[in-house]
Amino acid sequence: MKVKLRIQRFNPERDSRPWWAEYEVDVEETDRVLDALNYIKWHIDGSLTYRRSCAHGVCGSDAMRINGFNRLACKVLVRDMVAEGGGTITIQPLLALPVIKDLVVDQEPFFRKYRQIMPYLVNDEPPPERERLQLPEERARFDDTTKCILCAACTAACPSYWANGEYVGPAAIVQAHRFIFDSRDRAAEARLKVLNEWFGVWRCRTVFNCTTACPRGIQVTRAIEEVKALLRSGRI
């Protein structure tokens, strides 16, 4: 099928401001939007720039704004996006992260926040000879947040993050949740201290944009609420 794409482009070596390019591509209706981008890059204009790797929604490279929503280009189909966009698919880079070129944003501010919440298991007790035991119900407590691929779709969809880039944002809180609720971890207190700061969880206004945006189906807002509830409870 023939499909129209409107893509926001910006090459810092050439352009003073972003501009819109339009392309008509010939793809299968069951193709991914990523296939349409590849079609342009491989058949029309090799300079179109975007990140991609696994092409099936598990590596997190190709989060972008498609028809106004943050999505992975490899996890939405052309057919659905064309229908939603009234005949045209509109693609922009993620909001609120600096654009490097076309659809590629600078992820460093995003990963800086990730590193801020100590995104690693802390347990300095001498480990047992075999695995640390963890019951299935303890393991289930943080299952949802282990699915995060750090694609930035949630954080870049968050109005609180748009308003203030100092906010750690939903992805970092999801990562913190993954460790705070892990029965093997011993650094919940330190993480909660960070998340209780002015740039922490309280900037969340429960808008649910993050939950809608998550391509992994993580209940992001619920995770944030669980962290808030733990802070309110004063149990730690």
């Binding site: 070596e13 300079s47 347990n123």
Partner: protein, 594 residues
């Protein structure tokens, strides 16, 4: 040639190229002892280890009795006796400790009711030397690789490893028989960086993108193997490339063997569970090469679905319960399968619009894994010849390497075991090596080759990467996939030569410096051409059938002449061969029946 790129210099004792499981495990160990830099062409969390689904093996015996020697035997038999048996013994023995270490590092394994690491069945893993399937694969639902990748990256962040993300390594610097560093293109800026090092670990993955239908990420272009090839160093057993039986039809996206571990079965157009005919004992859990060939035989004999080129993977609970194909013949529910295989169920829903709990899923074999690669010893040291002479300071681990633990066909889960076991061994050995040696001298202008290469492509001719790549993939898919024969392999080599000639005139639309992915794709095509060439030549060279390498003109395994590893070099334009014996410890070759 004068470069428009700025040149930077760095010095680290250890430089690791690639940030998947092997690179990060190596980095974790190396960085405890010496300053370590990790360079990766994609952000580490985008590495393809993250796409591994079903599990990582270790004979923990958490679910039922299991023994390391059973695992060693399965690995050797899976590899059709081309496995170096000392390597398989290391793999099996150290797997237990490596999995426990991953757990201690934070890996959120699924658990048994007592809180131990849960395990599931997987293809080719058996109890008592082939008697019946055994539950050996430790897992996190069907995102085991994702969790390994994240766990190791997390601990590398904690350890303060120096990451250089989105740096594409273009050259290996050698000082005689000694490594002196690497040269890399910084994708974001177009700058060129020289990394002076005492030791270099290549952990830069596979090359599935030489094929048209593949489970592999777009980034899997064999860059590490290609750099070694260009430097006149050998590659080993390149003719062995695994096709995973269950890729989503046309897309190649992987549907984990864990599905069959949970009881799913393969069905042909007549509704038959055809693996009963090909592998009467373990049926749908035979090793991957056996199943992929069986699928193609069914298709050739007209029993593909509707006479077409695919069959069904059926994971509907009613099917599993009717065949009593779940472990122990127990009854499974849709909810249980959804909790154990959420990602692959979602892939079918998203990409095919099929609910696999209600309908069977069309599948076809998909190019999945290179058993061959850069030859190494048991400590990950790269060797330069059939006598196993090490290249000083040069290491390789993971899919780019060939230790050889996978032989002629890798068992499911063993890629992940390989990453952590041999990534760790390489990291340890490399750190010790660094502590006992000084920096080798850097040659003058080590960046010259890269500058010339990059400028030539930027100012290049009319050819473009995409059409050449498409023809390469089509050629390899047609002539160098599951079934091979002399005429086709010769046709492939001649086509590859033609494509290489066109590549001499490669150019790009994007002539800029910043984030030039057009340039990166052109460089990656250079890697694909090298790896495809090594693969096709090696496939023509080996005139027998073993594991994944099936020659229709030589359909039998020939231990008399071919119980040996292929060693292949390119010197100038000449491709030449050597061979080295397979290490046999306790398991003499026998007939391979599942």
């Amino acid at each position: 040639m004068v470069s428009r790129s700025r040149i930077h210099r760095h010095q680290f004792e250890a430089v690791i190229v690639g940030a998947g499981g092997a690179g990060l495990m190596g980095a974790l160990y190396a960085s405890r002892q010496v300053p370590t830099a990790v360079l990766s062409k994609v952000h580490p969390l985008r590495s393809h280890t993250g796409a591994a689904q079903g599990g990582i093996a270790a004979p923990l015996g958490n679910m039922e009795e299991d023994k390391p020697e059973w695992y060693v035997y399965d690995t050797i038999k899976g590899g059709d006796w081309l496995v170096d048996q000392d390597a398989a013994e290391v793999l099996a023995q150290e797997s237990v400790d490596a999995i426990i270490e991953l757990e201690h590092l934070g890996m959120p394994f699924d658990r048994t009711p007592e809180g131990k690491i849960a395990q599931r069945r997987f293809g080719g893993h058996t109890r008592n030397f082939g008697e019946a399937p055994v539950m050996r694969a430790c897992h996190v639902a069907d995102r085991t690789g994702h969790m390994i990748l994240h766990t190791l990256y997390q601990q590398c962040i904690r350890a303060g490893v120096n990451f250089f993300d989105e740096f594409f390594v273009t050259d290996l610097i050698l000082d005689g028989n000694r490594v002196a560093g690497v040269v890399a293109l910084e994708i974001a800026t177009g700058d060129i960086h020289v990394f002076h090092a005492k030791a270099v670990l290549f952990a830069n993955g596979g090359a599935g993108r030489i094929y048209k239908i593949t489970s592999n990420a777009l980034s899997l272009t064999g860059d590490g193997m290609a750099l070694v090839w260009r430097r006149g160093l050998p590659l080993e057993d390149m003719e062995f490339f695994q096709f995973h039986p269950t890729g989503i039809y046309k897309l190649g996206i992987l549907l984990s063997e864990g599905a069959r571990g949970e009881g799913a079965i393969l069905i042909n157009d007549k509704g038959e569970r055809f693996m009963e005919r090909y592998a009467p004992t373990i049926k749908d859990l035979a090793s991957r090469d056996v199943i992929s060939r069986a699928i193609y035989r069914e298709i050739r004999e007209g029993r593909g679905i509707g006479g077409r080129d695919y069959v069904y993977l059926d994971l509907r609970p009613e099917t599993i319960n009717r065949y009593r194909s779940a472990p122990g013949g127990r009854t499974v529910t849709a909810e249980y399968l959804e909790s154990k295989l959420p990602d692959i169920i979602e892939f079918a829903r998203v990409y095919l619009g099929i609910d696999p709990l209600k309908q069977p899923v069309p599948i076809q074999p998909t190019a999945h894994y290179a058993m061959g690669g850069i030859p190494t010893d048991l400590d990950g040291r790269v060797v330069r010849d059939a006598n196993n002479t090490p290249v000083e300071g040069f290491y390789a681990a993971g899919e780019c390497a060939c230790v050889s633990v996978h032989g002629a066909n890798r068992l499911g889960t063993n890629s992940l075991v390989d990453l952590v076991v041999f990534g760790r061994r390489a990291g340890r050995h490399l750190a010790e090596y660094c502590r006992g040696t000084d920096f080798p001298p850097l040659p003058p202008e080590p960046e010259a080759y890269t500058v010339e290469l990059v400028e030539r492509i930027r100012n290049g001719g009319k050819e473009r990467a995409a059409p050449i790549r498409a023809e390469l993939q089509e050629t390899m898919q047609t002539y160098v996939s599951v079934f091979r024969e002399e005429e086709g392999l010769k046709a492939a080599i001649s086509k590859l030569n033609e494509l290489r000639a066109r590549y001499e005139n490669i150019g790009v639309d994007d002539r800029g410096l910043r984030f030039n992915t057009d340039l990166v794709e052109a460089l990656e095509l250079g890697s694909l051409l090298d790896v495809a060439e090594a693969t096709a030549y090696s496939a023509l060279y080996r005139t027998e059938s073993r594991g994944t390498h099936y020659r229709e003109d030589y359909p039998k395994r020939d231990d008399q002449n071919w119980l040996r590893h292929t060693i292949v070099y390119r010197r100038g334009r000449e491709v030449s061969f050597d061979s080295k014996p397979v290490v046999i410890t306790h398991w003499p070759p026998k007939e391979r029946v599942y």
